[in-house]
């Protein structure tokens, strides 16, 4: 079974989605613990938005090699440093009012199956949690979600011609909704199923790795950094 590497954010947080039964094969490291060999040893990497991006710059050549060998990269946040070769930097949305931040679905994707796009636009009636700008998609990427008003592309997936797959989410981590009482809670388990399917892993095998324990109750000490 292939493991997934999760790079910890600056708060060293262990996110709540680690408690999902689908998360049994995730290993976590801080950027300062990264070795070039990690980009050979792992076939999938998850990056949260609170990552020290500057610490990843020296690893950009290894990231490119990882992708060229068929690696799966899931990146959350605003890309502002040359961490992923060939991608452009974050562009903020043109407005910050509620009507500027409504999300629209452009293409369906297994990660968002059963996820109501209104649950991405609004959290307790407040807009803007999901995305407030765009890490611009490269030519050939499949656009999944964008802001209805100015067209800022928030989510895209790109099967690179050189090999590898990048799933981009321009915003707070997609797994931050895991304990919400909306359809957005489905994103985190579906993301893990999607990644593991690309890796050829059996979800039954992964679920057997997880000790029986309750899902995060949202009261953990790291709650504010869970996402």
């Amino acid at each position: 079974m292939q493991s997934i590497l999760y790079l910890r954010g600056v708060g060293h947080e262990t996110p709540a989605f680690f408690d999902l039964p689908e998360a049994g094969n995730i290993k976590a490291k801080l950027p300062r613990e990264l070795e070039p060999s990690d980009f050979d040893d792992y076939k999938a990497i998850l990056i949260p938005s609170h990552i020290n991006q500057r610490a990843l710059i020296p690893f950009a050549p290894f990231m490119e090699r990882f992708l060229n060998r068929g690696g799966v990269l899931v990146f959350n946040g605003h890309l502002v440093y040359p961490v992923i070769p060939g991608l452009s930097s974050f562009v903020p949305a043109q407005g910050g009012r509620l009507e500027d931040l409504i999300v629209e679905r452009v293409n369906n994707h297994p990660i968002f199956e059963g996820v109501n796009v209104d649950d991405l636009s609004f959290r307790r009636g407040v807009a803007g949690f999901y995305g407030r700008g765009s890490n611009p998609p490269p030519s050939g990427a499949l656009i999944l979600h964008r802001l209805k008003k100015d067209g800022s592309v928030i989510d895209w997936v790109w099967h690179r011609p050189e090999g590898g797959v990048i799933f981009m989410h321009t915003g707070n981590p997609m797994w931050m909704f895991v304990n919400d009482d909306t359809s957005a809670a489905r994103i985190a388990p579906r993301l893990l199923v999607w990644v593991n399917t690309l890796l050829g892993n059996s979800m039954d095998d992964i679920k057997r790795l997880m000790p029986a324990r309750p899902l995060c109750d949202g009261k953990c000490a790291q709650k504010r950094m869970c996402c």
């Binding site: 801080l30 440093y81 803007g128």
Partner: protein
Amino acid sequence: MNIAYIDGGTYYHHDTFHDPELNPYFAANIYAPELYQTDLSSFDALYIASRQDSDDLLFNQEKILHFLDAGKTVVVAGDNAAEQWVPGAQWTDEPVNFWWWLTPGEDSGLRLAAPEHALMRTMTLQDFTWHHHGFFTPPDGAVSIINTTSGGSVFYEDTVSTKGRLFVTSLDPCYHHGSHFMPAASRLLRGFLPWLHRQ
């Protein structure tokens, strides 16, 4: 005042530092993992942006205390484990009410504690008000500028714990401003940084 911006390498540290409205107030950007090898002698103040890897700050505790002992100023913004390395900082965690403003009659839980403080000639309580992640108990002799109704402080000035001047806050304006999300956080930076720069 020459202010060095301590940058933890995240996108929100990047976007705050490079904001054309705020950048002129910083004399330099120091990447936190390189702080240990940086000569600080030309700076009068360190602005330690919110939400960094606290290991980098703990590693530099002695250097930062030496800077304060030279009579200089250090601003420690929120979520930097200040209670582990800032003299006098005592922290109490509290559940965060992100949603108080959606409930009619609900209160932010913040109060202006030092209306006479020079900072408040150009700022208001609203510039410090979004949500807070707990509170500090300032040491005796320190001045709380913004209190919580639970008896703590989310923004205080401490000139007694070191030979220098400390501003300690639990608020995280760089995170929100750099995320393009929270007008009050932007107002805090637009009010506090010019004031600090003029000192």
